[in-house]
Protein backbone atom coordinates (compact mmCIF):
# COMPACT_ATOMS: atom_id res chain seq x y z
CA UNK A 1 0.00 0.00 0.00
CA UNK A 2 1.11 3.52 -0.75
CA UNK A 3 0.88 5.80 2.26
CA UNK A 4 0.63 9.56 1.77
CA UNK A 5 0.27 11.67 4.90
CA UNK A 6 -1.33 8.78 6.74
CA UNK A 7 -3.74 7.89 3.92
CA UNK A 8 -3.32 4.37 2.51
CA UNK A 9 -3.89 3.95 -1.22
CA UNK A 10 -3.98 0.82 -3.36
CA UNK A 11 -3.40 2.61 -6.66
CA UNK A 12 -0.01 4.12 -7.45
CA UNK A 13 -1.44 6.13 -10.34
CA UNK A 14 -2.68 9.64 -9.60
CA UNK A 15 -4.63 11.30 -12.38
CA UNK A 16 -4.90 14.93 -13.45
CA UNK A 17 -8.33 16.08 -14.63
CA UNK A 18 -7.35 18.74 -17.19
CA UNK A 19 -7.39 18.67 -21.00
CA UNK A 20 -9.92 15.85 -21.43
CA UNK A 21 -12.16 16.21 -24.51
CA UNK A 22 -15.36 16.00 -22.43
CA UNK A 23 -16.64 15.34 -18.90
CA UNK A 24 -17.86 11.89 -20.02
CA UNK A 25 -14.39 10.95 -21.27
CA UNK A 26 -12.86 12.24 -18.03
CA UNK A 27 -15.22 10.06 -16.01
CA UNK A 28 -14.45 6.98 -18.13
CA UNK A 29 -10.71 7.60 -17.84
CA UNK A 30 -10.79 8.02 -14.05
CA UNK A 31 -12.64 4.72 -13.73
CA UNK A 32 -10.33 2.91 -16.18
CA UNK A 33 -7.22 4.24 -14.44
CA UNK A 34 -8.43 2.92 -11.06
CA UNK A 35 -6.87 6.09 -9.60
CA UNK A 36 -7.97 6.93 -6.08
CA UNK A 37 -6.59 10.47 -6.17
CA UNK A 38 -7.24 13.10 -8.84
CA UNK A 39 -5.80 16.59 -9.05
CA UNK A 40 -8.05 19.62 -9.33
CA UNK A 41 -7.55 23.37 -9.53
CA UNK A 42 -9.28 26.64 -8.70
CA UNK A 43 -10.12 29.14 -11.41
CA UNK A 44 -12.16 32.29 -11.71
CA UNK A 45 -15.88 31.54 -11.66
CA UNK A 46 -18.46 33.63 -13.51
CA UNK A 47 -21.64 34.33 -11.54
CA UNK A 48 -23.65 33.71 -14.70
CA UNK A 49 -22.06 30.57 -16.16
CA UNK A 50 -20.91 28.88 -12.95
CA UNK A 51 -18.91 26.34 -14.98
CA UNK A 52 -16.99 25.09 -11.96
CA UNK A 53 -20.11 23.85 -10.18
CA UNK A 54 -20.83 21.18 -12.80
CA UNK A 55 -17.22 20.00 -12.81
CA UNK A 56 -17.24 19.73 -9.04
CA UNK A 57 -20.38 17.60 -8.99
CA UNK A 58 -18.77 15.20 -11.53
CA UNK A 59 -15.71 14.78 -9.32
CA UNK A 60 -17.80 14.23 -6.20
CA UNK A 61 -19.83 11.54 -7.94
CA UNK A 62 -16.61 9.67 -8.79
CA UNK A 63 -15.93 9.26 -5.08
CA UNK A 64 -12.18 9.84 -5.42
CA UNK A 65 -9.93 11.81 -3.13
CA UNK A 66 -8.89 15.20 -4.52
CA UNK A 67 -5.45 16.79 -4.50
CA UNK A 68 -5.92 20.51 -5.23
CA UNK A 69 -3.05 22.28 -6.96
CA UNK A 70 -1.71 25.82 -7.05
CA UNK A 71 -1.05 25.62 -10.80
CA UNK A 72 -0.34 28.94 -12.46
CA UNK A 73 1.03 30.58 -9.32
CA UNK A 74 4.28 32.44 -9.87
CA UNK A 75 4.84 33.84 -6.39
CA UNK A 76 4.83 32.64 -2.81
CA UNK A 77 1.94 34.96 -1.97
CA UNK A 78 -0.25 33.70 -4.82
CA UNK A 79 0.50 30.08 -3.97
CA UNK A 80 -0.23 30.54 -0.26
CA UNK A 81 -3.52 32.37 -0.90
CA UNK A 82 -4.56 29.75 -3.46
CA UNK A 83 -3.79 26.99 -0.94
CA UNK A 84 -5.99 28.71 1.66
CA UNK A 85 -8.84 28.95 -0.84
CA UNK A 86 -8.41 25.33 -1.92
CA UNK A 87 -8.48 24.08 1.66
CA UNK A 88 -11.87 25.70 2.20
CA UNK A 89 -13.47 24.66 -1.10
CA UNK A 90 -12.16 21.08 -1.20
CA UNK A 91 -12.15 20.48 2.57
CA UNK A 92 -8.70 18.89 2.54
CA UNK A 93 -5.32 19.77 4.01
CA UNK A 94 -3.63 18.27 0.94
CA UNK A 95 -2.13 20.73 -1.51
CA UNK A 96 -0.02 20.09 -4.60
CA UNK A 97 2.24 23.08 -4.35
CA UNK A 98 3.41 24.59 -7.62
CA UNK A 99 5.36 27.83 -7.81
CA UNK A 100 6.34 28.27 -11.43
CA UNK A 101 9.62 30.01 -12.18
CA UNK A 102 10.07 29.81 -15.93
CA UNK A 103 7.54 29.94 -18.74
CA UNK A 104 9.11 27.76 -21.44
CA UNK A 105 9.78 24.75 -19.23
CA UNK A 106 7.29 25.49 -16.42
CA UNK A 107 10.22 24.68 -14.18
CA UNK A 108 9.45 25.20 -10.49
CA UNK A 109 10.87 28.26 -8.76
CA UNK A 110 12.55 26.18 -6.08
CA UNK A 111 13.33 29.21 -3.92
CA UNK A 112 9.69 30.30 -3.83
CA UNK A 113 8.63 26.68 -3.49
CA UNK A 114 10.64 26.04 -0.33
CA UNK A 115 9.43 29.32 1.19
CA UNK A 116 5.77 28.59 0.41
CA UNK A 117 6.18 25.00 1.69
CA UNK A 118 7.57 26.31 4.98
CA UNK A 119 4.60 28.66 5.45
CA UNK A 120 1.97 26.07 4.51
CA UNK A 121 3.45 23.18 6.52
CA UNK A 122 3.55 25.44 9.58
CA UNK A 123 -0.16 26.13 9.04
CA UNK A 124 -0.98 22.43 9.03
CA UNK A 125 -1.17 21.82 5.27
CA UNK A 126 0.00 18.47 3.93
CA UNK A 127 2.15 19.68 1.10
CA UNK A 128 2.97 17.78 -2.11
CA UNK A 129 5.65 20.01 -3.65
CA UNK A 130 6.19 19.92 -7.41
CA UNK A 131 9.97 20.07 -7.55
CA UNK A 132 13.00 19.06 -9.59
CA UNK A 133 15.37 16.15 -8.88
CA UNK A 134 17.75 18.53 -7.03
CA UNK A 135 18.93 16.87 -3.82
CA UNK A 136 19.52 20.08 -1.88
CA UNK A 137 16.06 21.41 -2.72
CA UNK A 138 14.57 18.07 -1.68
CA UNK A 139 16.39 18.31 1.62
CA UNK A 140 15.06 21.86 2.20
CA UNK A 141 11.52 20.79 1.39
CA UNK A 142 11.73 17.96 3.91
CA UNK A 143 13.20 20.36 6.49
CA UNK A 144 10.24 22.68 5.79
CA UNK A 145 7.90 19.87 6.82
CA UNK A 146 6.99 18.14 3.55
CA UNK A 147 6.57 14.36 3.91
CA UNK A 148 6.02 13.63 0.20
CA UNK A 149 8.00 14.96 -2.79
CA UNK A 150 6.87 15.22 -6.40
CA UNK A 151 9.90 15.49 -8.66
CA UNK A 152 9.34 16.14 -12.34
CA UNK A 153 10.19 13.51 -14.94
CA UNK A 154 10.30 16.12 -17.70
CA UNK A 155 8.58 19.50 -18.31
CA UNK A 156 4.80 19.46 -17.79
CA UNK A 157 2.95 18.14 -20.84
CA UNK A 158 6.15 17.35 -22.76
CA UNK A 159 5.71 13.56 -22.72
CA UNK A 160 9.48 13.04 -22.69
CA UNK A 161 9.54 10.58 -19.80
CA UNK A 162 12.34 10.50 -17.23
CA UNK A 163 14.71 13.18 -18.52
CA UNK A 164 17.43 12.82 -15.94
CA UNK A 165 17.65 9.17 -14.95
CA UNK A 166 20.88 9.66 -13.04
CA UNK A 167 19.48 12.54 -10.99
CA UNK A 168 16.20 10.77 -10.27
CA UNK A 169 17.99 7.57 -9.25
CA UNK A 170 20.20 9.60 -6.90
CA UNK A 171 17.12 11.26 -5.41
CA UNK A 172 15.52 7.86 -4.79
CA UNK A 173 18.70 6.55 -3.17
CA UNK A 174 19.13 9.62 -0.94
CA UNK A 175 15.64 9.56 0.50
CA UNK A 176 14.69 5.88 0.71
CA UNK A 177 11.86 6.43 3.22
CA UNK A 178 10.16 9.46 1.62
CA UNK A 179 7.24 8.81 -0.76
CA UNK A 180 8.39 10.11 -4.17
CA UNK A 181 5.82 10.65 -6.90
CA UNK A 182 6.96 11.40 -10.45
CA UNK A 183 4.88 14.38 -11.49
CA UNK A 184 4.95 15.71 -15.03
CA UNK A 185 6.53 14.69 -18.28
CA UNK A 186 5.37 11.07 -18.50
CA UNK A 187 4.34 10.32 -22.10
CA UNK A 188 3.62 6.60 -22.43
CA UNK A 189 3.01 3.68 -20.05
CA UNK A 190 6.60 2.41 -20.39
CA UNK A 191 7.80 5.68 -18.79
CA UNK A 192 5.51 5.03 -15.84
CA UNK A 193 6.64 1.42 -15.54
CA UNK A 194 10.25 2.63 -15.57
CA UNK A 195 9.55 5.07 -12.74
CA UNK A 196 8.08 2.33 -10.58
CA UNK A 197 10.91 -0.08 -11.47
CA UNK A 198 13.39 2.55 -10.26
CA UNK A 199 11.61 2.58 -6.92
CA UNK A 200 9.43 5.66 -7.24
CA UNK A 201 6.29 5.21 -5.22
CA UNK A 202 3.75 6.52 -7.71
CA UNK A 203 3.23 8.63 -10.83
CA UNK A 204 0.89 11.51 -11.56
CA UNK A 205 -0.33 11.49 -15.15
CA UNK A 206 -2.51 14.00 -16.96
CA UNK A 207 -1.74 15.00 -20.55
CA UNK A 208 -0.54 11.51 -21.61
CA UNK A 209 -4.01 10.16 -20.83
CA UNK A 210 -6.23 13.19 -21.48
CA UNK A 211 -4.80 13.88 -24.94
CA UNK A 212 -4.46 10.26 -26.05
CA UNK A 213 -6.58 9.08 -28.99
CA UNK A 214 -8.65 6.98 -26.59
CA UNK A 215 -8.14 8.34 -23.06
CA UNK A 216 -9.99 5.55 -21.22
CA UNK A 217 -8.01 2.86 -23.02
CA UNK A 218 -4.77 4.72 -22.32
CA UNK A 219 -5.75 5.09 -18.65
CA UNK A 220 -6.17 1.31 -18.43
CA UNK A 221 -2.77 0.84 -20.11
CA UNK A 222 -1.15 3.15 -17.56
CA UNK A 223 -2.80 1.25 -14.72
CA UNK A 224 -1.28 -1.99 -16.01
CA UNK A 225 2.16 -0.40 -16.49
CA UNK A 226 2.18 1.01 -12.97
CA UNK A 227 1.24 -2.36 -11.51
CA UNK A 228 3.89 -4.13 -13.60
CA UNK A 229 6.58 -1.61 -12.65
CA UNK A 230 5.77 -1.91 -8.96
CA UNK A 231 5.70 -5.70 -9.09
CA UNK A 232 9.06 -5.71 -10.88
CA UNK A 233 10.59 -3.43 -8.28
CA UNK A 234 9.46 -5.74 -5.50
CA UNK A 235 10.75 -8.76 -7.42
CA UNK A 236 14.30 -7.35 -7.52
CA UNK A 237 15.43 -6.45 -11.06
CA UNK A 238 18.85 -7.72 -12.22
CA UNK A 239 21.73 -5.27 -12.65
CA UNK A 240 22.60 -4.36 -16.24
CA UNK A 241 26.06 -5.54 -17.39
CA UNK A 242 28.29 -4.78 -20.33
CA UNK A 243 29.12 -8.29 -21.57
CA UNK A 244 26.86 -11.18 -22.49
CA UNK A 245 26.24 -13.93 -19.95
CA UNK A 246 24.85 -17.15 -21.44
CA UNK A 247 21.47 -17.97 -20.00
CA UNK A 248 21.64 -21.65 -21.06
CA UNK A 249 24.07 -23.72 -18.93
CA UNK A 250 27.48 -24.17 -20.59
CA UNK A 251 28.25 -27.47 -18.82
CA UNK A 252 27.21 -30.43 -20.93
CA UNK A 253 27.26 -28.58 -24.23
CA UNK A 254 27.56 -31.11 -27.09
CA UNK A 255 30.33 -31.42 -29.68
CA UNK A 256 33.00 -30.00 -27.35
CA UNK A 257 36.43 -31.60 -26.75
Amino acid sequence: MLELYGTSLRSRLLLGTARFPSPAVLTAAVRASRAEVVTVALRRESGGERAGQGFWSIIRELGVRVLPNTAGCHSVREAVSTAHMAREVFATAWIKLEVIGEEDTLQPDVFGLTEAARILCAEGFEVFPYTTEDLVVADRLLAAGCRVLMPWGAPIGSGRGLNNLFGLTALRAHFPAVPLIIDAGIGVPSHAARALELGFDAVLINTAIAQAGDPARMAAAFAQAVEAGRAARRAGPIEPRDLAAPSTPVIGTAFRE
Binding site: G16, T17, A18, R19, F20, L26, T39, V40, A41, L42, R43, R44, E45, S46, G47, G48, R50, A51, G52, Q53, F55, W56, I59, P68, N69, A71, R77, E78, S81, T82, H84, M85, A86, E88, V89, F90, I156, G157, L204, N206, T207
Partner: protein, 65 residues
Protein backbone atom coordinates in the same frame (compact mmCIF):
# COMPACT_ATOMS: atom_id res chain seq x y z
CA UNK B 1 -19.35 51.38 -5.61
CA UNK B 2 -16.89 50.20 -8.25
CA UNK B 3 -14.75 47.16 -7.49
CA UNK B 4 -12.74 44.68 -9.58
CA UNK B 5 -14.21 41.18 -9.63
CA UNK B 6 -12.09 38.48 -11.29
CA UNK B 7 -10.18 41.13 -13.16
CA UNK B 8 -13.18 43.14 -14.47
CA UNK B 9 -14.65 46.37 -13.10
CA UNK B 10 -18.13 45.90 -11.63
CA UNK B 11 -20.63 48.36 -10.19
CA UNK B 12 -22.16 47.00 -6.98
CA UNK B 13 -24.83 48.06 -4.55
CA UNK B 14 -23.69 46.17 -1.48
CA UNK B 15 -20.64 46.94 0.59
CA UNK B 16 -20.13 43.59 2.26
CA UNK B 17 -18.51 40.70 0.37
CA UNK B 18 -21.43 38.34 1.08
CA UNK B 19 -23.93 40.84 -0.38
CA UNK B 20 -21.79 41.44 -3.46
CA UNK B 21 -21.57 37.69 -4.14
CA UNK B 22 -25.34 37.40 -3.89
CA UNK B 23 -25.79 40.39 -6.18
CA UNK B 24 -23.43 38.95 -8.83
CA UNK B 25 -25.31 35.65 -8.99
CA UNK B 26 -23.06 33.31 -7.01
CA UNK B 27 -25.82 32.43 -4.54
CA UNK B 28 -25.12 29.00 -3.06
CA UNK B 29 -22.27 28.21 -5.46
CA UNK B 30 -19.18 26.46 -4.11
CA UNK B 31 -16.59 29.22 -4.35
CA UNK B 32 -13.62 30.55 -2.44
CA UNK B 33 -12.95 34.24 -2.15
CA UNK B 34 -10.00 36.59 -1.78
CA UNK B 35 -9.85 40.36 -1.39
CA UNK B 36 -6.74 42.21 -2.53
CA UNK B 37 -4.83 38.93 -2.76
CA UNK B 38 -5.74 37.67 0.72
CA UNK B 39 -8.05 34.71 1.30
CA UNK B 40 -11.38 35.59 2.95
CA UNK B 41 -13.08 32.56 4.55
CA UNK B 42 -16.76 31.92 3.84
CA UNK B 43 -17.57 32.41 7.52
CA UNK B 44 -16.37 36.03 7.53
CA UNK B 45 -17.69 37.19 4.14
CA UNK B 46 -20.66 38.84 5.86
CA UNK B 47 -18.40 40.97 8.02
CA UNK B 48 -15.94 41.87 5.25
CA UNK B 49 -16.58 45.42 4.02
CA UNK B 50 -15.30 46.31 0.58
CA UNK B 51 -13.89 49.67 -0.48
CA UNK B 52 -13.84 51.41 -3.86
CA UNK B 53 -11.28 49.75 -6.15
CA UNK B 54 -10.89 46.57 -4.08
CA UNK B 55 -9.84 43.50 -6.06
CA UNK B 56 -12.11 40.53 -5.39
CA UNK B 57 -11.34 37.02 -6.61
CA UNK B 58 -14.12 34.41 -6.78
CA UNK B 59 -12.74 30.96 -7.58
CA UNK B 60 -14.40 27.59 -8.11
CA UNK B 61 -13.26 24.00 -8.67
CA UNK B 62 -11.86 23.46 -12.14
CA UNK B 63 -9.96 20.81 -14.10
CA UNK B 64 -6.30 20.71 -13.08
CA UNK B 65 -3.15 18.66 -13.49
Amino acid sequence: MRIIVNGAWRETEGAELSAVLEELGYGEAVVATAVNGEFVAAAVRAGTRLAEGDRVEVLAPMQGG
